[in-house]
Symmetry: D2
Subunit: 341 residues, 4 copies
């Protein structure tokens, strides 16, 4: 941590800040710059409330140097973590597709969607049983009934299941049916939920928050990682901006950034990342090329009659075409990785 | 709801969309504009998944007309709701101040802060017992012990208490000590929590989400309002933008907007709205002038040694000065309201 | 400037960065922190391209310490600059109102609007003769004819004129008719235009860019200040965010921030800051309370028939009511300033 | 255009709005919805100031239906426009690379960079002679001397030139040396400049504004298109958000969106889109996969000593490696296009 003093800070003010830092058990390095005194703070500042240093007289601002997350960082764990979802590997250099409807609407619907998903090459079936909706009057999900349906549909085709858990009290129930527990964008900083799912041992699909920064996302993963049980799969799903033509602004730079800063795998969600069905395939392709370990995508036998997110869902024809394209790019990326090796 | 067809949509595509809308039990009005066919959808679209209409062939986009919230709206409930916090009225034309530390750090600290708060004119004591922090290594709050301390400190000075509840499993505990239950910015769309606190009958202080739109905020309030027990107090605390000099961009336009769209009161949080202690007083003044029903502000006997949020906390001297200024503006606003009447 | 090395940077990498900094004529201070080596760079880094230091092997990132603007800063010029607009003082503790239509539509319209403006207490008449519009098919302004009309209307009532100059080739023409030259939000970083208007000696009303940060805004002012002729009047007009209910998010925290960082005055523009006529009065009041030196506001004799910005313009009745409110708050702020003194 | 009345609007208010619309020469369709009266406005609203309709009593808001641009739209011009840059085709299904330094620093530097660029496969040389910098004290470019150098360096290797024009008064000079005129992000809405470059007949590289929406970008292109001389090449370079780890948030969804809405080609700028050199290659790959017609990228023989943008520039080794990867993906995209055909 570095504390930058105001250019007119007095010697007494500098001395007072130094004294207080030392009282907190940290060491200092005082440097007289051309315009500002700069105080370097040494020691583990993670557990100390350092924000308050900004409140001392004469302080202009402070800058954090160390990352506040550790177990999640590549600095701490240089080699890639490969997540094993009951035999399906994520982060091993392959590209894994998770596909399915936004909402589980019934057994027939999820079975039919699973069939589509499997034909296209998806290995993991997605589908929501608990649906957080902006309006309390909108459809909120089939809950446990939905979980049973998706498990059955997946098992019939030897697929794995990913589904969202929204509340600590549901973890046990959801974990009984699902192979990956997904944390939704609205819960990225629901720390109690993160700690609880982190204890299950199941892989956690951690969506980036609606306006979550990458640093916050890495810290959210740390809440899971400190439980030392469950591996994390980051899911980039776009962030909120002022561009109204897409539901979110899909931030694919997050893929190489997360790869650089963390050892956990990252997949992309071009459905929420765009919110518009005919942008999904180009953005899925871009995700492959950016280096993602997989994707999660919304498909539906009849998007126009989907109970939610119909506008961003692919039907069988558009989904299969996208998967053809994705396969070609996955092959191209293998060549690229061979060059690198 | 209005559906705008592409300018090259065929008659068959229009007819198909019309047919599907009618099958959903809604009525239509088809209007041939100069460049686009526009289909007006009539009937209560709140409970129907209308997003999917965008997935029909030939549809360019759709526009919602009706508000998706109802009980929260001023259209539905034209007169102001005055919230009674055990005798302290919010929304009756007065300006109520809630003050206290970010974190409850101990009995002595909260007592001393309560004394300061009371001297300045605050009627409600704030303080956090559960602290959601970006890093898992930072201080996370004193939990129930903290709740006991804040209740005691408030009772000794005949003040009321507002504190945050972060998890459904804590509601009963927090409600035993607090007069207002606060929902934090990270939980604005934690709908299960909203439904649960809405059943307590306690007033709910609902912070705007970190990047929450006003429409989402009103819908979040609706999750509480449909329980028909607890009134809502909106708390504007700034939204995330690209301006780095402030912790958030304090959106005071939200004050007259919420007043126009809802009957529930709104207060402002200039501490989180700015994140910088010397901007708090000017923004508190601006909040009064914008027409807020009150404010919530962070104060601390010794901000530089606060366990959290020290950089945005006022000390006794700066707090008392701010309250003098606020009082003068509250008087000025009374004159303005008399002119209007 | 501070350079933070990666935690696994080698001694050779550190030595190489140090060598390069010294070659650039700057001095260094190398500090071995607990996890990272931190290199402090000393000397005037304003004229050196320091971005490149990030490109050296082993560098994680760098942090600027010194402000890149100087003449605009309060550090350099501690006392307030009072701008004298041909007798009307801005920044002397008074609150100056500039009012008028978005577009000058004709002589009769601008005369009638000037009359309204004057009755309400405005001393400066605003109105656009060159209108930058998103679509090339929209009305683009009356140009020089409009400038003649606004000058005549202002002179008849002993008012001053502020109007926008959009292009270097128009400066002489606009300066012949206007007392203040306004730089629009889209031109905040049109540096050639800033340099040119800075040579006129006329006060420059510098609007904040559509997504301009406060640091960029201060640097834009520096382009004017280095010409050493024209004083600057900052105009806060809101920034672009994802909140769709207002045209911009009005960032009133900019008022005390600019006051803290610069000696030039700042006024607010609640018309563009909200984009909705019935939010203008509350935000004008909030601007007074935040400490602004004045405001600029759009009014029109018949907003519904205005050629531009009708939705955010006040008519005579709503304008006069707002000015009554503003006057009451200006009086209240005088009391507050007396306490401070 | 559609006007949504308030749910409590009176019949008189509706009638008044209808009367005013008809007076403006437009036709109407009035539809009584379940909660709101909705007035459809028919006719060409492009040249009429329709904003003012929001100012009538009883109006809640209005929604635009028609696009305000026309010549730029794919609706108006369904087939792709292929831009011919003196023999180099952009938009014909190939992928064109433009590479070079941020700033032209001298003849030797631009020659050496041109050599590197050519080896990697770039056909067009980029380089800035006029540099708009945030601070007036930073290096501002070599101006005409720089233009001579880049032209010479390109001619020696049979490359084409793209460089930025920042001011109307420079157009003739820049056009004498450059094959493509680039409009920088800060000038996307400098309409006078857009109109002027549109008359040159040279292809215009139009960067997206710093916070420009796609709709504004298309309208900016329309200012060029109405001159009926110069074709447009859209350049996606990221937009400003709250994510601090990248200089901008690179919005690759813009690629398929522009392809859908316009007939002009679009290229991507992964250098400004990320601001970090080691993110450039993955984002260049993602740009290819998203369907871009080319890219513009910053390279430098010695990035650490570049006079500007060193942190985002590739050196020879990293650039050549990226181009290998890009070539593999370009081949993969050809296969994908064959499937589609």
């Amino acid at each position: 941590m570095i504390i930058i003093m105001k250019n007119n800070a007095t010697k007494e003010q500098v001395a007072h800040v130094v004294k207080k830092i030392k009282e907190a058990g940290l060491d200092v390095n005082v440097d007289q710059g051309s315009e500002h005194v700069v105080i370097g703070v040494k020691g583990d500042t993670r557990k100390i409330a350092t924000d308050g240093f900004n409140a001392y007289e004469g302080v202009e601002r402070s800058v954090k140097i160390s990352k506040s997350y550790k177990l999640t960082s590549r600095e701490f764990h240089p080699q890639d973590t490969v997540v094993d979802v009951d035999g399906v590997k994520i982060g091993d250099g392959s590209f894994v597709t998770m596909a399915g409807p936004c909402s589980i609407e019934g057994l027939a619907q999820i079975r039919e969607t699973a069939r589509m998903a499997k034909v296209g090459g998806a290995q993991i079936l997605r589908g929501g049983a608990f649906k957080p909706r902006t309006s309390p009057y909108a459809f909120q999900g089939l809950e446990e009934e939905g979980l049973k349906y998706i498990r059955q549909a997946a098992d019939e085709l030897d697929m794995k299941v990913i589904t969202e858990v929204m509340d600590e009290s549901h973890i046990e129930m959801v974990a009984a049916y699902s192979d990956i527990l997904q944390i939704g964008a609205r819960n990225m900083q629901n720390y109690k939920l993160l700690q609880a799912v982190g204890k299950t041992g199941k892989p956690i699909g951690l969506k980036r928050g609606i306006s979550g920064t990458i640093d916050e996302w890495l810290n959210a993963a740390e809440y899971i990682a400190v439980q030392d049980k469950s591996p994390v799969i980051f899911i980039e799903r776009g962030i909120r901006t002022y561009e109204p033509m897409t539901r979110n602004t899909f931030d694919l730079s997050a893929v190489p950034l997360i790869k650089k800063l963390s050892h956990f795998p990252i997949i992309v969600d071009p459905s929420h990342g765009t919110g518009v069905w005919d942008l999904v395939a180009p953005m899925a392709r871009a995700g492959v090329a950016a280096g993602a370990d997989g994707m999660i995508v919304e498909i539906h036998p009849d998007p126009a009659n989907a109970w939610s997110d119909g506008q961003q869902s692919l039907n069988e024809k558009t989904y299969l075409k996208m998967m053809q394209e994705v396969d070609i790019l996955v092959d191209a990326m293998k060549k690229i990785k061979q060059i690198e090796a």
